[in-house]
């Protein structure tokens, strides 16, 4: 049976088990429900859970080991000369076999050896599939049978069901931890492989970035330099432009919305501004590449400047537009959190509204505003699609916003889209860049959240 159908069958079985368990509990006490420890439905849930959870678990384990087992068995059946190939070529053969097995290979000239292996692979898969179906269904039925046998009037089904439910909820909540662990593990593991080939300090302080490694020793122009400084500089340049755009606009609109605007204006302007936060970044990228960049280039040419068509300015400007709502809504929150008593005191001393804001509210809200700017900065650094579509690809160490620069995220995308070889430093360097990105944004966020929290405590 195919996996989706198997899942469906399992679900049906457990629904049936619910009714079986419920019926059983009622018949056990011959209809005198007061005698039962729990409500009949709980006996139903109990039986259903026994029919579902062990079987599901088994299926998950089976399916996660099946590909490895299949590959191993298929390789084992191959003749010796293929088996002794280096692992990368062996994987290629294995992929071929899988493609043929799936009926994907349309070209006529397929090695009969491969066809045979593919048939073997298909046979194995059928066996595995059949065994899985058998094992899972047996497990489910046994579970139901066991649960059914256990039901009697004193059995505390509710307590057990509640315990299982709580356990499942705890399991769900640990997924967040597993995700973090997964991110750190996958990024760090590949980065370590990378740093074994390229020294850590060469990567961190090197001034040249050209990740094309030579395939042959005599190839021209494939030095494979992995100095990440130009990427960091490019990221910094574009993010700074974005912040220069977003901070004044975001901050001023937050001040106006929270201090000056009437409730009617506020209730239309604020959601409209927040539309900017909901627009997918790929749309901004398109806008930057096809509308803003040509506009900037033409304007620059009018003044006699040489502007690259992938200028940092275009990407930064559009990224700035994107993070306006982050700055404005976070600043809005912190400005609103300043106690009214401070404002009243300033007015009582004869200060105008603008003076109150400039001299009382902004200094009081400053830590929170700094926090929100840091959050916006981390957003800008990690932003991918705008720079992929509107910034350059070649590393360029410059501070001129009219030139094309590249960023960390652009490099990650260009290095990983397409074919990857997980033994070349070219592919692995993307993970090292990812590690840097993760560390920097995490640090920015932790600092920002810490500042915001500390500030909030001050006024509570």
């Amino acid at each position: 049976m195919q996996t989706p159908y198997l899942l469906f069958t399992l679900l049906i079985l457990s629904v049936l088990a619910y009714f079986i368990g419920k019926r059983r509990s009622v018949t056990v006490v011959e209809g005198a429900l007061r005698e039962l420890h729990s409500l009949p439905a709980y006996y139903g849930y109990y039986t259903a859970l026994w029919g579902l959870i062990p079987a599901l678990f088994l299926m998950l384990v089976w399916l996660s080991f099946e590909p490895t087992w299949l590959a191993h068995q298929t390789v084992a059946s191959l003749p010796e000369e293929i088996k002794s190939l280096p692992s990368s070529k062996l994987n290629l053969q294995l992929n071929n076999i899988k493609n043929v097995a799936a009926g994907l290979q349309v070209s006529q000239r397929v090695d009969p050896l491969i066809v045979e292996a593919a048939e073997h692979y298909n046979r194995l898969r059928k066996i595995s599939n059949f065994a899985l179906t058998l094992v899972v269904l047996t497990c489910s039925l046994t579970g139901i049978w066991l649960a059914h046998k256990k039901i009697n009037k004193d059995y505390r089904a509710r307590n057990v069901v509640e315990k299982i439910m709580t356990g499942l909820m705890i399991l769900a909540s640990t997924i967040a931890i597993f995700t973090t662990v997964g991110i750190v593990a996958s990024v760090v593991f590949e980065s370590l492989l990378f740093f074994r080939q390229v020294p850590f300090f060469d990567f961190l302080f090197g001034l040249e970035w050209s990740p094309q490694t030579a395939l042959r020793a005599d190839q021209v122009g494939s030095s494979g330099a992995f100095g990440a400084v130009p990427l960091f500089a490019g990221t910094l340049l574009i993010s700074s432009i974005a912040l220069i755009v977003a901070v004044p606009i975001g901050l001023m609109s937050a001040i106006y919305l929270s201090e000056f605007a009437g409730s009617k204006f506020r209730s239309t302007a604020k959601p409209t501004l927040e539309i900017l936060a909901g627009i997918p970044t790929v749309v901004y990228g398109f806008f930057a590449a096809l509308t803003v960049a040509p506009f900037i280039r033409e304007t620059g040419e009018l003044w006699g400047w040489v502007v690259s068509s992938e200028s940092a300015l275009a990407a930064g400007l559009v990224m700035g537009i994107m993070i306006i709502p982050f700055v404005s809504s976070l600043s809005d929150d912190v400005i609103n959190a300043v106690p009214q008593s401070l404002r009243d005191a300033a007015y009582a001393l004869g200060a105008t509204q603008a003076e109150t804001i400039k001299q009382i509210i902004l200094p009081a809200a400053l830590p929170g505003i700094v926090g929100s700017i840091l959050l916006a900065a981390s957003r800008a650094i990690g932003e991918t699609m705008i720079v992929v579509m509107a910034a350059g690809l070649a590393a360029n160490l410059t501070a001129n916003p009219l030139e094309a620069v590249t960023t960390v995220t652009v490099q990650i995308v260009t290095l990983l889209v397409g074919d990857q070889e997980f033994d070349s430093p070219k592919t692995l360097s993307a993970f090292a860049l990812g590690l840097m990105l993760f560390v920097v944004t995490l640090a920015l966020n932790v600092i920002a959240l810490h500042i915001v929290r500390k500030y909030r405590e001050q006024y509570e």
Partner: protein
């Protein structure tokens, strides 16, 4: 006496400064308003530029030709076998019909140009017509066929006739053909159904968003099925059951940090874990859905917790007082009241997931896929990635398609958000 003059001078100072202070006030207010207006203007420019570029793609230039469905070409042995029919040389039928309309065109290059007027996909239009109704074989019928992208651009005014011939993609004789067709009413812009029913294609006039839309649907389905139960369970546990200890703190810190991790890092996780380690298929909506689940979980959990928090404690106390267990209290009383808020958060999370591009590039959903995916294990692409791919294509006609695809994407996002707002307005209770 001395005192009095002093205070007078202070008052004077204040009075003198008032005008200046008032203008400073006005200036400050103006800056604030400028900030907002700039923000709103950006929204406006963005929408105008995209709609202005994209509305044209909902129409497509088509050319009417009287096609003779010759039996000798389509099905010479009269088998009416669908295999034979689909392999027939429909291009020759189109060529024949074109020379009838333009008998004056001579010379190999000219004839080749003429044949290129019709899209290379037109043969499939004819094939589908015959497969749908084989009785058309042997008859002659007027069929609207897709024009190729350059002619479409000319009809839409993106190729200007005033530009000198050498800089134009269509030369004078080709423009003259269009004029002749226009005179006879044989060329027309018609509603572009292809855009909604076709998969991706290298030829702009053949490219549609159906494949990407289906890919997005499957990916979102996986995301929803996984992230809503997990997110809701996590929110309930953290808000209602979790003891305050280091473990709970750790979970909370993790959730808050995950919400701020750049999306591309999730792509790295997907590539290293799901594809390399677990060996799941590349480019499949299943993997995309898994990655997006991890990304949207924080949003759903945070929204779910806020919704649970807003349910007043009196509800819980009443239920507990009636003898309900802790779990019964939560599942029978608190959760139903918090559900609208949780759903709102989920819809907003789904909208984020629908617009996400970067992590999906990492897991290979950027492949050029013509077929429309049929399940969560098929290779697929999603709408935002399709936009990215088209934005990279050099043909002018793809700019229009890209903008139109963006309009479709934005329409989905706006309607999802509208549903969320509606849910919140309709079911939100103030206690």
């Amino acid at each position: 006496m001395n005192n009095r003059t002093d205070s007078l001078s202070t008052m004077e100072k204040v009075r003198k400064g008032i005008a200046k202070r008032r203008s400073a006030e006005r200036r400050f207010r103006f800056y604030g308003l400028t900030g907002i207006v700039l923000g709103l203007v950006f929204v406006l420019i963005l929408f105008i530029s995209i709609i202005g570029k994209g509305y044209g793609a909902f129409q497509q230039t088509q050319i009417a030709l009287d096609i003779e469905f010759l039996e000798s070409v389509i099905d010479p042995n009269q088998t009416r076998d669908s295999k034979v029919i689909s392999r027939a040389d429909y291009n020759s039928l189109i060529r024949k019909s074109l020379t009838k309309v333009f008998p004056e065109v001579k010379g190999r290059r000219q004839i080749r140009d003429l044949n290129r007027m019709i899209s290379s996909g037109a043969m499939f239009q004819l094939r589908d017509r015959v497969l749908e109704d084989p009785s058309v074989i042997g008859r002659s019928e007027r069929v609207w066929l897709l024009a190729s992208d350059d002619y479409d651009m000319l009809m839409k005014g993106h190729i200007e006739r005033s530009v000198p011939e050498s800089e134009r993609r269509l030369k004078d004789h080709q423009v003259a053909w269009v004029d002749k067709l226009l005179e006879q009413g044989l060329i027309k812009k018609r509603f572009n159904t292809f855009f909604f029913t076709a998969g991706d294609s290298r030829a702009p006039e053949m490219a549609g968003i159906r494949g990407a839309l289906m890919g997005s649907m499957y990916t979102l389905f996986v995301t929803l099925v996984l992230s809503f139960p997990i997110g809701a369970a996590t929110a309930v546990y953290l808000e209602e059951f979790a003891p305050t200890n280091k473990w709970t703190d750790l979970i909370e810190v993790n959730i808050n940090n995950l919400a701020a991790v750049p999306s591309i890092v999730f792509g790295l996780l997907g590539l290293a874990m799901f594809i390399n380690f677990f060996g799941l298929p590349r480019s499949a909506p299943l993997v995309g859905g898994l990655v997006l689940t991890l990304m949207t979980l924080p949003t759903i959990i945070i929204a779910g917790r806020a919704a649970l928090k807003s349910v007043p404690p009196s509800i819980r106390e009443a239920a507990l007082g009636m003898g309900a267990s802790k779990l019964q209290t939560v599942f029978h009383h608190v959760l139903p009241l918090a559900l609208p808020g949780m759903l709102t958060g989920t819809i907003i999370g789904m909208a984020q997931a629908l617009g996400e591009t970067a992590p999906l590039l990492m897991i290979g959903m950027v492949a050029f896929i013509v077929d429309i995916p049929k399940g969560i294990f098929d290779s697929a692409t999603v709408l935002p990635v399709q936009i990215y791919l088209w934005a990279d294509s050099p043909e002018r006609a793809f700019v229009e398609r890209t903008s139109a695809a963006i309009m479709v994407l934005l329409a989905f996002l706006i309607s999802m958000n509208a549903v969320a707002v509606f849910l919140r307005k309709r079911f939100e209770r103030r206690w």
